[in-house]
Symmetry: C2
């Protein structure tokens, strides 16, 4: 009887914030009957379920098991969106469809990729990484010699500094999570600590910087503080268990957990130890942070605390009132996620979401918040906090600090500025249609 | 001077066990100069590394960024091995190439798969899961209605009860890690706790068992204790972030962390609550554990604590003496890995390996042990211990408890018995060639 009473009353008794947010205790089971409110999506079959009707795939032998399996044909739309599908002579962006994914790992086929000079086809037997400059003895590594070292494994997100850039627009761009936030992905990376290689080479104790350079036609080079190399930098050789994807740096890349994407130099062929930053094109012009008033920051390495709701979101309209699970990802380039607050009323009230553990340093944390949508307008938001005491800024705070685009943004492919980390707001109207709004 | 002295003396000062095993303190950096012993694989470039020679891929624009990226053509041999490549009317096994992978995640394309009736091509809009039997109200779920529930995410291995079965042979079968141990993989799974669905349906408190049935032509059905459903069972809908692979249960499967693979029923279409086991074909005949003397166990659910070295291993011979990192995976269907011991002298002495954290419940843990191979014969072994106090059995212990194959095993595709979890031993001869041996 206790259980039954709890079930019937759950939606009204366990509200934690306005407009239908339900306590995360509901996640522990028994408290909420999701299916009871699912309408036609979850109907009962009556007491007599037997015999079950056989579907066509129950009545015939299936297909051949292939050497490398791929997604179901029914998942054909779960792909990266391409900014340059014909490979014209300009940068290519491939964005991850976060609104169609779950959990925290980005599968390798869907990891985002930006290539300024195309995707190189590198022979790992010929590729070499040179470690030189202010060291006692310059060294050279191949994929094979790196692989003989003790490797370490960790989860880490990589986020382009220009991820979410359309949100600098003065008016909210109507676009999916993929188009707004698809230039970030999260994977398990395995590689050699850069500190071990610097020790092998005998780094000059007065050296303060490295410059890392890629082997593709772009020759992207970026300056990295030696301190970061000793904190947690890797030369990564595996991505989610297999060697790196060609678009993610095969056969080896620099991994700088939490630092802006392009610093994680792909196809890395050189790490030179130096005593001042190189002030390369990519750090002084291409990926610069422009501030209100037109000044720029000299460097802006860390991708700051951030979250976004992946479901419900633009393009995934609700079909009927009832119970839903609001879900999204949170992360911080500073450390671990401490909590994520969710609002269904545009920030008037907030409830704490459940986090999926374990919570990794500088990696995706999935959050979930049960929600009873009563068919009235709602505005869904998430706000992340990290263990360094940093809070994801409200939009007004963010715009005051970092400014807005000075010209109209007519496409989600625009990059008016870098390092957007404020809140994303999804407005649900009474029909269940979802729009991107600013609050 | 301190650093220099430590480097020169590392290999002799920091031995932790016989035949060249080096303290895992060496993993912390600065203690071991791997490259110094790498011979030609890691040569110095001299002080003048500039300008670097440009490879062909440095001098031309690369390829088009595709919607779904795939592995480099240079990785074409990193595939699953197939027992039935033409899809004849019999079971198909696809084995994971663990000796070519790193980290802990098995990428989805390479997750092992066993299909007794081919790989079905299931339309997720048509597939339904019925929950019925001893419940107050039978329920029916689709992928869409399941996805509206609060989902949980966890790492978990799935291991076929017949994984490593060739090791029941009286004489060691010469085969790669893939052929011996390829019927296990590890992934991040996301789904609905089965306990939540049973609560929604109002399970009869006297019910003790479930029977789960798949929708493919095999109709595999297995009995599962209700207690396991409430411990940690999921109806999984995402695998490493994307919807399940067709060979791994698309669009939904039962996930029973730590239980033998076939119980994690793929394409699950029915969960019926019952009051005694179903004693189905698959639990009474096909996946039975045969004991010495010819008796069998009625049930044997848990995949017990186990580990194997993936590198060095059969097929990956050593080219020259020097420093190496012995690496492998450990796991336990009972809980978390507590430690892994490694031997280079056939079990005469053991050193504790470094574990890559975080250490997940019922999931892969990667272990690493630095090793200086001096060109003399060696026998490499790993032995895992879990946090429940269980130790991976030595071979003599295991054979005494579970027996050996009674007939000669002529192929690594044979399945003389189930649940092999003893030690794997790789013998390195003075040329660096590696054989599978029993010790």
């Amino acid at each position: 009887m206790t259980k039954r009473r709890r079930r019937r009353g759950a939606a009204s008794l366990d509200l934690v914030a306005g407009n239908g947010l339900i306590t995360r205790r509901a996640l522990l089971g028994g408290g909420v009957t999701f299916v009871g409110a699912l309408g036609t999506a979850g109907t009962t079959t009556g007491a007599g379920a037997e015999p079950l009707a056989d579907a066509p795939w129950s009545l015939a032998v299936g297909g051949i098991t292939p050497p490398v399996q791929t997604a179901s044909p029914f998942e054909k739309d779960v792909t990266r969106t391409l900014s340059n599908p014909r490979g014209e002579f300009r940068t290519s962006h491939a964005r991850t469809p976060h609104q169609l994914l779950g959990g925290t790992v980005t599968p390798n086929g869907l990891h985002f990729s930006i290539n300024h000079g195309g995707v190189p086809d590198i022979d790992p037997a010929e590729h070499k990484l040179v470690l030189h400059g202010m060291v006692r003895r310059p060294l050279e590594f191949t994929l094979e010699s790196l692989s003989r070292h003790p490797l370490v494994t960790r989860m880490a997100f990589i986020e382009c500094a220009g991820n979410s850039a359309p949100m600098f627009a003065k008016e909210p761009v109507q676009a999916t999570v993929q188009m707004l936030h698809g230039l970030i992905s999260n994977a398990e990376w395995t590689g050699v600590p850069l500190s071990a290689l610097l020790d092998e080479a005998g780094i000059d104790p007065t050296a303060k910087w490295l410059v890392a350079e890629g082997a593709d036609a772009q020759f992207l080079d970026r300056s990295v503080p030696v301190k970061k190399a000793y904190d947690d930098a890797l030369i990564a050789v595996y991505q989610n268990g297999e060697h790196l994807m060609p678009g993610n740096g095969y056969p080896m890349r620099l991994l700088l957990p939490g630092y802006q994407g392009n610093m994680n130099v792909k196809y890395v062929r050189r790490i030179k130890v130096i005593n001042q930053p190189a002030y390369s094109y990519f750090e002084t012009k291409n990926y610069s942070q422009i501030l209100p008033g037109g000044k720029t920051w000299r460097f802006h390495f860390v991708m700051e605390v951030k979250s976004f709701i992946t479901y419900p979101s633009f393009g995934l309209n609700l079909k009927a009132p009832g119970l839903y699970a609001i879900s999204g990802v949170a992360y911080s380039g500073t450390g671990r996620i401490a909590k994520v607050m969710v609002s269904a009323d545009g920030g008037n009230s907030w409830g704490e979401a459940a986090l999926q553990g374990p919570i990794h340093d500088k990696a995706f944390t999935r959050f979930v918040m049960p929600w009873r949508w009563d068919g009235q307008p709602a505005i869904l938001q998430s706000r992340a906090y990290d263990d360094g005491g940093n809070a994801q800024p409200l939009r007004a705070e963010f715009v005051a600090m970092r400014g807005e685009a000075t010209r109209p943004v007519t496409t989600p492919l625009a990059f008016p500025n870098q390092h957007y980390n404020s809140i994303t707001s999804w407005a649900v109207d009474s029909k269940g249609d979802i729009k991107h709004v600013y609050v």
